[in-house]
């Protein structure tokens, strides 16, 4: 049981809450959502409370996060995209901190559940669709009609564009979810090799060195993935918001 690599994704109720037949229990997942938000907010709030003209180290980390996301959004969606800055920043920080918290042993990884990443992806796509129609009206549908396509091909191209648009929330959410899930399973599997080989006597301990090295390397890789997936999520958000701002290709 201890070596079951799926076990770490189990959701357990901490405070059972049920409303109208639906289960809204406060679970370990909810606990780590709260922890993620508390850690990110606390860090950003406390490090900037001095408002130093010359930033302290911690303050410059917060400033770097700010400028990192701001330049990402400005490059991806133009200066008009800055109205979505709080949303993109919140998404980036939430995903990043959730991923990083998940790297602690025995911690739950919020982003390893498809429903969480899907809700975040739907928030992005929902924003794109609502803002796109609000700003451009039906002109937003030009998004699906690339200019300069011959009339014969147009229905086909429009179909492809619509399908690619509809698949965005899925690809956005599955990418993050699958990366976190697969990474954590792989880590667990290799770490499990270490213990099971180590239990097999002297030869086993010698053989356990390889998966141990692998586990250490994978831990490093997972930290990279944790950051990279938050970055990818935010960059794609910026690109999709760019579509809402400038639907004409």
């Amino acid at each position: 049981m201890a070596n079951d690599p799926i076990h770490q994704f189990q959701i357990s109720k901490l405070i059972p809450i049920e409303v109208g037949g639906l289960d809204f229990s406060f679970t370990n997942s909810s606990l780590f959502m709260v922890a993620t938000v508390a850690a990110a907010s606390g860090f950003l709030f406390l490090t900037t409370s001095n408002r130093g003209m010359v930033p302290s180290r911690m303050q410059s980390i917060s400033e770097m996060c700010y400028e990192f996301v701001a330049s990402m959004l400005r490059d991806g969606a133009g200066s008009g995209g800055m109205r979505f800055f709080p949303m993109v920043f919140s998404l980036f920080m939430f995903v990043l901190v959730a991923n990083l918290l998940g790297m602690f042993p025995y911690f739950f990884t919020v982003t390893s559940h498809i429903i969480v990443t899907f809700v975040l992806a739907m928030l992005v796509i929902g924003t794109v669709v609502v803002y796109g129609f609000m700003k451009h009206g039906l002109g937003f549908l030009n998004l699906f009609v690339p200019s300069g396509v011959p009339g014969m091909l147009l229905p086909l191209v429009v179909l492809i564009e619509v399908i690619s648009f509809l698949s965005r929330p899925i690809s956005l959410s599955v990418r993050l979810f699958a990366n976190m899930l697969a990474g954590h399973i792989t880590l667990k599997v290799f770490a499990g090799f270490v213990t099971s080989l180590g239990a097999m006597g002297a030869l086993g301990i010698g053989g356990a060195i390889l998966p141990l090295i692998m586990t250490v390397a994978l831990t490093g890789l997972e930290f990279l993935v944790a950051f990279l997936q938050a970055y990818v999520f935010a960059v794609l958000t910026c690109m999709y918001l760019n579509d809402a701002l400038h639907p004409g290709h």
Binding site: M1, M53, S62, E63, P86, F107, H113
Partner: protein, 184 residues
């Protein structure tokens, strides 16, 4: 503490959930996850957009303004320094020019003085020379005149000595004159 408690609880429920579906695809947990995600992320978004981001934004803006202001100040001071340097150079050039002028004037004046002095001395010398020449000429004329008289007297004495007679003065003078003219 909370985490280990959560882990213990997880281990407990895992026994009977193990043969259930893969946890991320277990639809029974979706409602709870969505609700708590909306609550936590919503609060996080509000806190970011209302408090944290305006604060960091204002910190960065203040710093940018301050840097721009300092740069402006530095530029202004640099311009002032350039101006002062240009003024200094100008004054130095003026001073050099006027010094040169003064030196030139002094040299000219000295030269003029020297020339005047020399002209005066030369004129004086020339005057003296002329006077001396005139005196010499007068002395010479007088001497020549004496010479004729002495010659006549000498001739009279010679004649008296040789022939024992006297010759009239008029005759002697005429003879001396003729001899002098013949000797010429």
């Amino acid at each position: 503490m909370l985490v280990t408690a959560a882990y213990a609880a997880t281990a407990e429920t895992a026994e009977h959930a193990a043969e259930g579906s893969f946890p991320p695809f277990d639809g029974s947990t979706f409602a709870s996850q969505i609700l708590w995600l909306v609550i936590t992320f919503g609060l996080f978004y509000l806190f970011m957009s209302r408090v944290v981001l305006p604060r960091i934004g204002s910190i960065l803006e203040t710093r940018r303004d301050r840097i721009a202001q300092d740069l402006n100040e530095a530029n202004r001071l640099k311009e002032e320094a350039d101006q002062a340097f240009a003024t200094y150079e100008q004054e130095l050039a003026d001073a050099k020019a006027s010094a040169h002028e003064i030196a030139q004037a002094a040299r000219d004046a000295a030269k003029a003085d020297a020339d005047a002095e020399r002209a005066k001395v030369e004129a004086e010398v020339a005057g003296k020379l002329e006077k001396a020449e005139a005196e010499i000429a007068a002395v010479k004329t007088k001497a020549l005149a004496e010479v004729d008289k002495i010659a006549a007297d000498t001739a009279a004495a010679i004649v008296k000595q040789l022939i024992g007679g006297t010759v009239t003065k008029a005759k002697l003078t005429a003879a001396v004159k003729a001899a002098a003219e013949g000797g010429k």
